[in-house]
């Protein structure tokens, strides 16, 4: 496994860190305070995890006055994204739609 893979795996293997990253992916840019509200850990712990995510290139910070906003950097995941499983996911979704259509064709 490549070094890039290694860093990403190590960074995302921590459940708290992964939860933070997933939330930024789903909900977009957030401040440390907003992330802490639902993280179940203290603000310094959230900040520490964000620092590690940033080192791995998974998040980017944007200072804005006294606040710092964090956002997910999806491009950092590129080494992990296996296009074959992605494409398989595409077809699985399409086949779901195909089965729905076949059911409707009965009527």
């Amino acid at each position: 496994m490549s070094v890039a893979h290694d860093v990403l795996f190590r960074t995302l293997a921590d459940p708290t860190r992964r939860a933070l990253f997933e939330r930024l992916c789903r909900e977009g840019e957030k401040t440390v305070g907003a992330l802490t509200e639902r993280a179940g850990v203290s603000q310094p712990v959230v900040s520490k995890h964000l620092g590690i995510l940033k080192q791995a290139g998974l998040v980017r910070d944007r200072p804005d006055g006294r606040q710092t906003h964090y956002s997910a950097q999806l491009s950092a995941l590129a080494p992990l994204i296996d296009w074959t499983s992605q494409m398989a996911g595409f077809w699985e979704t399409k086949f779901d739609a195909l089965e729905d259509l076949l059911k409707r064709m009965d009527q």
Partner: protein, 143 residues
């Protein structure tokens, strides 16, 4: 490196509770194809060039390669992108095999390069499934 080692393929199979004849209609009639796959100007005729238009704005260039009614359908599935990493030249083949309960449907998409970074439309698979895959990946890696 041989040509064979430069390409990979994706296979998705499913048991369909409908007869091959009906499934064939869904695979070959444009208004039905549009309902489950994409907008298109498909015709079940070898050599016919057509386009599949994705809801994300992408257009696939396709050409019918093989039409064997109720059994096999094959067409090219090419996506041109200015970034070479996203360029895609592939062949999609649907194979229908009758079963007592309906049809076994097999889809094989072949012809990608191994350095293909990301297939188009991947984002449509949704975050949920992506993270489920990530979970599996992490479990496999024993991270």
């Amino acid at each position: 490196m041989t040509a064979a080692s430069e390409t990979r393929s994706v296979v998705v199979e499913r048991e369909i509770a409908h007869p091959p004849e009906k499934l064939w209609r869904a695979l070959t009639q444009p208004h039905l194809i549009e309902e489950w796959l994409m907008k298109n100007d498909f015709k079940p005729r070898v050599g016919h060039s057509f386009k599949l238009r994705g809801e994300w704005g992408g257009v696939l260039d396709c050409e019918v390669l093989e039409v064997e009614p109720n059994r096999q359908l094959s067409y090219t599935w090419d996506f041109k992108h200015e970034d070479a990493a996203y360029n895609l030249t592939s062949i999609v083949t649907f194979t229908l095999t009758p079963t007592p309960a309906g049809t076994h449907l097999r889809m094989e998409q072949a012809g990608f390069r191994p350095d293909q970074k990301q297939a188009f439309g991947g984002a449509h698979a949704g975050w949920k499934s992506f993270f489920e895959k990530l979970d599996h990946l992490l479990a496999r890696a024993g991270a």
